[in-house]
Symmetry: C4
Subunit: 312 residues, 4 copies
Amino acid sequence: MSTRRNFIKQAGAAGALSVLPFSKLYSQPATNRQTPSRWADGSRLVVSVSMQFEAGGQPDHAESPFPQNMIKGYRDLPATTWYEYGYKEGIPRMLDNWDKLGIKVTSHMVGTAVLRHPQLAKEIVDRGHEAAAHGMNWSSQYNLSYEEEKKFIKDGADAIQQVTGITPVGYNANWLRRGENTLKILQELGFIYHIDDLSRDEPFVIQVNEKDFAVVPYTLRCNDILLIEGKNFSADQFVAQVKMEFDQLYTESNSRRRQLSISFHDRIGGTPQLVKAAHDIIRYIQQHDGVRFKRKDEIARMILKDKTAVRE
Amino acid sequence: MSTRRNFIKQAGAAGALSVLPFSKLYSQPATNRQTPSRWADGSRLVVSVSMQFEAGGQPDHAESPFPQNMIKGYRDLPATTWYEYGYKEGIPRMLDNWDKLGIKVTSHMVGTAVLRHPQLAKEIVDRGHEAAAHGMNWSSQYNLSYEEEKKFIKDGADAIQQVTGITPVGYNANWLRRGENTLKILQELGFIYHIDDLSRDEPFVIQVNEKDFAVVPYTLRCNDILLIEGKNFSADQFVAQVKMEFDQLYTESNSRRRQLSISFHDRIGGTPQLVKAAHDIIRYIQQHDGVRFKRKDEIARMILKDKTAVRE
Amino acid sequence: MSTRRNFIKQAGAAGALSVLPFSKLYSQPATNRQTPSRWADGSRLVVSVSMQFEAGGQPDHAESPFPQNMIKGYRDLPATTWYEYGYKEGIPRMLDNWDKLGIKVTSHMVGTAVLRHPQLAKEIVDRGHEAAAHGMNWSSQYNLSYEEEKKFIKDGADAIQQVTGITPVGYNANWLRRGENTLKILQELGFIYHIDDLSRDEPFVIQVNEKDFAVVPYTLRCNDILLIEGKNFSADQFVAQVKMEFDQLYTESNSRRRQLSISFHDRIGGTPQLVKAAHDIIRYIQQHDGVRFKRKDEIARMILKDKTAVRE
Amino acid sequence: MSTRRNFIKQAGAAGALSVLPFSKLYSQPATNRQTPSRWADGSRLVVSVSMQFEAGGQPDHAESPFPQNMIKGYRDLPATTWYEYGYKEGIPRMLDNWDKLGIKVTSHMVGTAVLRHPQLAKEIVDRGHEAAAHGMNWSSQYNLSYEEEKKFIKDGADAIQQVTGITPVGYNANWLRRGENTLKILQELGFIYHIDDLSRDEPFVIQVNEKDFAVVPYTLRCNDILLIEGKNFSADQFVAQVKMEFDQLYTESNSRRRQLSISFHDRIGGTPQLVKAAHDIIRYIQQHDGVRFKRKDEIARMILKDKTAVRE
């Protein structure tokens, strides 16, 4: 009832679209699913676990389970002890759990947290886990100028390097909120991947400053902050949901390579109930053939060398 | 203790009711349940599954799982990748699931989403599913003038027709919020049904512009946006609740024909955990006799021809 | 380290307490649990189910599952259909369920809802359930003057009487929020009980206008509005929680008589998933000896005649 | 890529850290886990249960399950009855449950609640439980002056002593929110421990006024207020989560001594569904060897005498 010409005119008039032939406004055809069925290491499904190290670096009156209703000028002392739990109990407990399970994880570390708890940061690395960067402070960076942001990222990376001896190659912005310059800066500073992307269930390669850069997607669905800290999920619901996530990805990985991402934070994922949850989830996953637990730097290096990787 | 006369006087005086004999202020006696026990196709229960195609068409700063606290003037980059997931992973995964399960679904498509991802929109239709209309943009229409709204609906329908070759006959307004003119416009434009109604567990027929128009009721109870995006429900709770919904409707359908509606959205229902959930729910339903999965256009056509349909 | 004299002085100085000997500031010693172990009807546990009849009587823009963000001056049409569900599907489905289960329930009815759907109100009574009062309109009464409130209560009761032929003897205020005059007015108008009290797990007797008046406590813990409408609980969680509530009360009722209250609302408790939930809960309860399902007027009459009732 | 010197300069320039050698800004190395594997009483895991006694002492318009939308100047009568439940049903029911289970608990008591219900406070003590202090009123103390706060704490303790004959030695601030002077005052007044700390899963010793003071950490994860009052968790989820918490701590306690804290409040934990939950949790825990249920004063005394205790 309307010709193509009319349609394009209408669409343009609606102001929502420029008058272009139908084409990829986004770079990747959505249904392009012709990739090999195995990763370079022979696995069909890689599992990436995060152990975020932030506690001790939080600002005053950071979000916590306590009501945000204090009179100005007073310190929230119980909230501070809630954060302390992250380095006094949370990280040590998780470290023991990873050893028991025989897996290595990635720890994005806030610079100030690392400087306040250097022994713990070093222990994470000494026990075989990846130290990755998470900014100098626990604060937004999307609103910084190019120079400010570069310094913000570099200071955090330097803190990790000084304390652990490792130069981080991966990045995670506060609340995933990178700015327009973030990826360029990361490429300039020698980083090889970032995780602030939720668009795919597999790692992929993008062009930044005309060079390859890896994206190792993060998760909100299997993430303790969104599900547990808000008290919406009990620990057993977390187990049930992540198992269902795995089941489907594992089925898909029969014909197509896939990635599962699971994320824990020191003061939340390090509680007894969630360490038990992580234990049960990972033991369940480990009963399946063709699955590999990998650090994100390993995934990034693997995908950057892979000519068949999804590229955007 | 009060006469009928007094009562009516009081009721009128309360300003809440006009002085009328007791009668149907609403058109349908609530307890009229004398209809045949089988649909025209011989089934006792029809199940209608939605796969909403919206991602890519969302406005800046559309609702997402991220905190809505950004400084003005900056783009929410991780939220954008959350939406990208809808067309890069969500719809393709759901399409494979429907094939595996052997069912056809209805996809209400936002016009701008269709134009940005035409191949995907076309693939939905090519694989046997219904392309239905969901407005030109991801925005409210209840506050538009008659002319604006007519153009808004027509542009969206035209986009679908241009891209998929199919003229949509069904409509869904943003957040179900039609305005006072919406149904008239839909009738004028040749639509045969809408879904923005939660009043019954079966399709029914209303009069619009003095002609029949079908209502195929939608759902909030078996809908991934309300239950999952808000992080209130884990995926296993979704399975449990929809099974209970089915159990009761199936029992009722022994003596009265019924409809179950289930709704998924690209970026939510297309996640591994919810595709697993949908799989488990649908396999459970398929074990029961007398149940048919139908596209909403099929349901609308069936009910419009049915002299015994509920009419309002 | 402080004498009693000092202590009393301090307590008084703190302004929180008058200088009184320790005594019952509230009228009932909290640990007085010496009552007979069986109710007058021989049961150890009475179960009272509510089926609130409100839909159709709601004000414009009453709370609903839809976001409360509409531009002023427009009607929320899908929310209206959500309420319509209450009388088109909800009440009829629940009525069938009560028959199947062989129980009688109490229906607190908003006056305007009764006048808009008189046949349905009458059917509730004809099928053996109690019609109780819930105010003339769906609105607060705690802020009305004595005269206004008396008219508000009486108009609602009259509406029920006119439509069903039954003079209601029980009352429930909007959101349980009675005012300082409510009980006096109810006593004056001939009511024998109210439910707007959560203080006990058994009915009890209070003095109003120097005469006995029954309190049949209501519930928030086994109430579909708080648990289900907010999307915090799935239907299977509702079942699990109410069963645990019953289990404990049943255990207690071995030595002490108890009451369990469960509440459903037309548009929420009348959905298939919650009718299935109610069915499973009630079948579970019915497997236990010594339990009676009773209308609230029956409970009130029983307790008013019982010399051993808890009295405040 | 940056020297240590540069790094320190940058860190200092960022204003987040003073130019110090890496060292313990917090006093306790996070990974110091070399302590004996058994407590002084021979147990590997101590379980501390709280039964908070607050109802009756709440201020007008204290938080409750009711919407906080009342017109000013009116009393919230149903909310008052919700609080009354705490002393009429909740505490008595919990007391019976503890007897049945054979455990003794700690009851932090608001002074005004104790004065309004002295018999109940006394019964708690008479049945072998610990009476501990919780302030004179149900209100914040972090914003009081030193003198005001000292009086606030002392009045509450005196009320308990007068009513129960017991001088409380443990303290809990409203919402855990102690101020900068609180611990000093508690030490001056003869208290031996406080619970307003979430930093560890074991009791520990700190220095206050240059003397030892015990910390018996509280919990938000196994606490009925956060999980149940907000209607986020059903009672069965509470059971599942606390069991998972126990399972992990019990596993750890094979090589390291641990503490599990569980908290109930009169009007919430005293409901039938949560008493059933507490029963099931505690019966589960009691099936394990090497676990002791202890009052918090017992834990504090034990840890204060223990040379191997964690000290900060």
